[in-house]
């Protein structure tokens, strides 16, 4: 860490820190497990603002949050490079999946490559709900369309500008396809009328990163507490809590870094 903590001093305990996070982690319920343990331990509350990754990055850049938990690795690394954020860690990962109606009108269940699946959706004109909120999932989705060579979005493509939970709900209502992170899907599965229609493509890997707002840009941010939170998540205790977090018997996140650069 580039901000050494002097163990000799009595640590100042902040009353709270603000964490801007993507709606997918928020809606999954993971934070409900992590935050109480952290607060218990350090006496600092964590106020969570749930936003798309793009919004969260913007909020962080403006200094309206102390740290971020997001999933758009390329952008994160670039913003660290530009000096907006520090202390970035690959905290956990899971994968994206494509979900859709059980009838699977586009026949995705027999397809392995996500780009082929997207092509099938586009050419069949099957309804696809996009988060359209500049979130990590949204950015991933857009990159997949690009890889599939599809740039012409018509009526079948709905950009809804909402969080992951709302987007899944809308896809369920419309009996449409959508790209989601696995965690949010699992946490909402029971109240949804949607099935996984494609998973496992290496393109669907989803890495989450955690990083602090650079105190050099914003002197007011509670940098030390933010680092404590990052250290807590990266500690064996934090990583175990992440690993053991389950819904319906399934793990939602895997600790640490998933794939080598």
């Amino acid at each position: 860490s580039n901000a050494p903590v002097d163990k000799g001093e009595v640590d100042k305990v902040d009353e709270f820190i603000i964490l801007a996070t993507t709606t997918s982690t928020y809606d999954s319920g993971l934070l409900d497990v992590l935050l109480p343990v952290f607060s218990q331990k350090y006496g600092t509350k964590v106020r969570v603002i749930s936003q798309g990754t793009g919004q969260a990055l913007e909020t962080g850049k403006r200094g309206d949050a102390d740290l971020l938990l997001v999933h758009d690795r390329a952008s994160e690394l670039q913003l660290v490079e530009e000096g907006h954020f520090t202390d970035r860690q690959d905290v956990m990962f899971n994968d994206f999946i494509v979900v859709g109606p059980s009838a699977d009108p586009a026949g995705l269940k027999g397809i392995e490559k996500v780009t082929d699946a997207f092509t099938a959706i586009a050419f069949g004109g099957h309804t696809f709900v996009s988060r359209g909120d500049d979130s990590g999932t949204n950015r991933k989705e857009l990159s997949l369309w690009e890889k599939a060579g599809i740039g012409d979005f018509k009526d079948w493509y709905l950009s809804v500008g909402q969080g992951m939970g709302d987007t899944l709900r809308m896809a369920g209502e419309k009996q449409a396809y959508t790209l989601t992170d696995r965690a949010t899907y699992l946490s909402l599965k029971n109240s949804l009328d949607l099935e996984i229609v494609l998973e496992g493509d290496s393109l669907l890997f989803n890495q989450y990163g955690i990083m602090a707002v650079n105190p050099a840009n914003h002197s007011h941010v509670k940098y030390e507490s933010a680092v404590k939170f990052i250290d807590f998540l990266m500690s064996s205790e934090g990583q175990e809590l992440i690993a053991f977090f389950q819904i319906g018997g399934e793990g939602l996140f895997f600790p640490g870094k998933g794939v080598d650069d």
Partner: protein, 232 residues
Amino acid sequence: MSLLKGIAEAFSLILTLDPYLTQIVLLSLQVSGLAVFFAALAGVPLGTYLGLKPQERTRFAGKLLYTLMGMPPVVAGLLFYLLFSRMGPFGVLGLLYTPTAMILAQFVLAVPIIAALTMIGIRSRGKDVQETARTLGAGRLLTAWTVVRESRFAISGAIVTGLGRVIAEVGAVMIVGGNIEGHTRVMTTAIVLETGKGNFELAVGLGLVLLIISFVINSLLYSFQGGGKEIA
């Protein structure tokens, strides 16, 4: 982004008729306009009818209207969501996340406002107008028309208040409309989204348009109310 620079850019978006912004504004006007149009068709006769009844005998209806007038938009949104969701009783209609659903929700929000304010307006003078028309030999239809015409300022005020209220609300349209780009994205939901995304020029631009529309609506309202008073 500095506030001033944002406003300047927002103005240029408005003046160049940025297509994304224009389309959202037009959809807003269309949805709220239709909702209020139908709400006026229902609310004005209802309010006129109640306004002509003795106040004692419409105590319950009056209270009910006032309560419904205060219906929080998010609650109306939730209600329509549950009704129109695929699991809900009207799910088969497939109305959720359509402009129709938004119009319905705003219609429900606007009817009590228009009816209640019409009722109050009619009460102040409607009974006398009705009796005067009748002493002069007017039939039912002419009497009703005279009552409405004599309270035109109050009624216009009621309709305009309804329009102002629904065009500015975000709770119901967000829940039942879903903020789908090009389909159900209106000014208010777009402002929330674009503010979140940090597109402040767009957010401010939309905010300015909404503010200008509110300004026009409220100028109208003020002149209806002031006008009503001055011409006595």
